[in-house]
Symmetry: C2
Subunit: 428 residues, 2 copies
């Protein structure tokens, strides 16, 4: 089925600013609450939020096989569970409804009043109920930087890294949408040179610049997903700030991996941009040397050229850009991650989320964490207000943005923005 | 509120065998499907399954503040979310309904016919929707055994182990109830002495003898749960077989911890035994030296004296007991695990599951995994049918049982039993 929604020449009857992340070619999916306290599934065009529950009630999805309340829900899980054919039909239909030449909704003010909202009048929610959250570690630059700092500069990459898209399980209960503030975590750390741990607020709170993909039901327990089919089970992508407490991580992570250093919060952008919308931005991945095992070998281009930026806005001060990276630098692709995740028969459900791992590029200004940008605090970053940052301060807002751009169209993610607050005092 | 359900002198009008795990003093909670395909929440007395949905419809829970369909659900999450006071009221009421001296249901055949089923006529389900699954590593004997085998025999325990109830995130999508078979996982391993990994079925599939506890909603994001209040947020416990593939684990686990070695399957017993029912079996934990940090220091007895056994039944052969252990050996308690898990503000939801980690006792016949029992395969175990086991063979059924016993009462868990099947062929 052709992805007619991607037609770069289509214009919408809704006004869209030149540099918008959300032209009619994007049509992402999300969940929002209106001023009337109605929760609905919706999409976004320009600065307008579209109530898809209302559209469905008004018959605009007629002819597409959907349950009656498909979009009158507080998560996208059921819709995602319907599979790729349905996603594409719905996205194509939305492009058609909002096409400049389609008068049906455009000229029906009564309908428009219950369907189209100003984006500032709705409150974005977590778009899916995330059953399981997995985080990968797929940037060679990031793994090398971390290996140089914490292990052996001469053998920075561990022996398994070039063979396995290394990943681990994260915590889904603390994934929050953009806008929700995050508290600095308390915890155990081992001060340098000491043998006894101490308790207190983490002193090294960091962001990790990541993207994440959302899956549909993909297999029964025991079955694998072949690498060359894996993209069929990926609904779309979001931006992910995988908050990290470096001092807690250092003391706790051997041998079972990061735990409290990560599970206090992970923030995501609220609009899921579909893999279909990202189709024009496919590109080649870095060459994999040595060649991976056959179950990880894939044909064609499976990386995506997505520009990524991180800024920090100190309390009552101006925003400072601290990193510019790109998803295309990643050594392992999403397809390889999903194929690896299921090669042992691990079941994948609708709404599961898988993070890319910190996305660091080849240059020092493209690293995806303060740990790397300041090289463990040795090279502080200058903020526009004159202050310096080694890690994130209380009151700082960390903002990540992402977009794809070619000669014809810009497809963006909007942003994931979250403020770091001081810890809530510990109860004893 | 007194736990009247624990009265050791109470008898039920339902017949209960002498050595049953489920006397009227137990009253565990589970979810089952009847022969008529009705899904309901229920309890068990002796070999009878009790339909609590039917009991509620017939008015037997009158006076307890419950939503109308509290027990007509396919998970216990909402009930668990109601909190400890409600759990206790319902359990006390059930003890009262089935008390030998209470004629209300006993003498009402019409009611009995829709409430009481033979246990063999129902099919047990997963009792909760598990949002997040965490697995700890809290047996000093197990951590020491693993450290001796894989790291340094002289420094088997890692520096953080005596300070932190070490844990990591598991995968909730592959947690299955007793009776569901499990497929041997395929995966990458590094053969001894080689530098290039190979692909194939895991050759070292193992069980891990564990218990797990199920939580209620405990905190908002950012808040901790004090160690001395933690038990109020624990609904009850199950037996857990945390299936493990040792060869996959060895190659993948540095630096982010076990992933595909664990997430192909975890099996649990279907009846959740409440912490209230286990109250008579509280006991002291091993002395903690050095003293943990203040947020982990607790008063009183918080370990539980639960006898545990593991058997292996080869295909068409007799069962062989391979291990006898006890939960009381654990160095870190459930309260300490939950206090640690939330010290950074990690949110805990109703239905989250937390595994103890492999429960190994001090003697060689009390180790909780084949890895330890056969010391990495060096000392195979003799089966009753004459065969030997280093790890688990295709066709083997692994059975774990657990029970508490004093002079007055026996409170048991039943069993978690699961058969290992050959791998499903990999699709390329």
């Amino acid at each position: 089925m052709p992805i007619t929604a991607n037609d770069p020449h289509r214009k919408s009857w809704l006004q869209v600013a030149e540099n918008s992340d959300f032209p009619i070619q994007n049509i992402p999916f999300g969940v929002f609450i209106t001023k009337e306290d109605v929760v609905t599934i919706g999409t976004r065009i320009g600065d307008f939020a579209i109530d898809m529950g209302a559209l469905q009630q008004l018959g605009y999805f007629e002819g597409i096989d959907l349950t009656d309340d498909m979009f009158m829900q507080d998560t996208l899980n059921d819709f995602i569970g319907d599979g790729k054919k349905t996603w594409r039909l719905v996205r194509n239909r939305l492009a058609d409804i909002f096409d400049a030449d389609n008068a049906a909704l455009r000229d029906n003010k009564t309908h428009r009043d219950v369907v189209v909202f100003n984006i500032s009048d709705v409150e974005m929610q977590l778009p899916v109920h995330i059953g399981d959250y997995t985080d990968f570690y797929s940037s060679k630059e990031h793994a090398t930087n971390v290996g140089k700092m914490f292990r052996d500069p001469e053998n920075a990459l561990l022996p398994n890294w070039l063979h396995i898209p290394v990943g681990y399980h994260g915590r889904s209960s603390t994934i929050v949408p953009s806008g929700i503030p995050v508290h600095r975590p308390m915890g155990q750390t081992l001060p340098n040179g000491e043998t006894q741990p101490v308790f207190g607020p983490s002193r090294l709170v960091d962001f990790e610049l990541e993207t994440a993909f959302i899956t549909t039901d993909a297999n029964i327990m025991g079955e694998n997903i072949p690498v060359n089919e894996a993209e069929d089970y990926i609904f779309g992508m979001v931006l992910l700030n995988d908050w990290s407490a470096r001092d807690i991580q250092k003391w706790e992570y051997v041998p079972l991996g990061p735990f409290l250093a990560k599970n206090f919060a992970s923030s995501i952008s609220p609009w899921i941009v579909t893999l279909d919308a990202l189709e024009p931005f496919r590109t080649a991945s870095p060459k994999q040397e040595p060649e991976p095992l056959p179950y990880l070998q894939q044909r064609g281009n499976h990386a995506y050229d997505i520009n990524l930026e991180v800024s920090i806005t100190p309390e009552n001060a101006e925003e400072t850009l601290v990193s510019k990276s790109n998803l295309k630098y990643m050594y392992w692709t999403m397809s390889q991650q999903l194929a690896h995740h299921t090669i042992n028969g691990c079941r994948i459900n609708s709404g599961d989320m898988m993070g890319s791992g910190t996305i660091s590029g080849p240059t020092e200004d493209s690293f995806g964490s303060m740990l790397e940008l300041t090289w463990g605090g040795q090279k502080p970053i200058q903020m526009k207000d004159g202050s310096e940052r080694k890690f994130i301060n209380d009151g700082d807002t960390v903002i990540m943005r992402g977009f794809c751009q070619n000669n014809e169209v810009r497809i963006g993610f909007g942003e994931v923005s979250s403020k770091l607050l001081p810890p809530i005092p510990t109860k004893f």
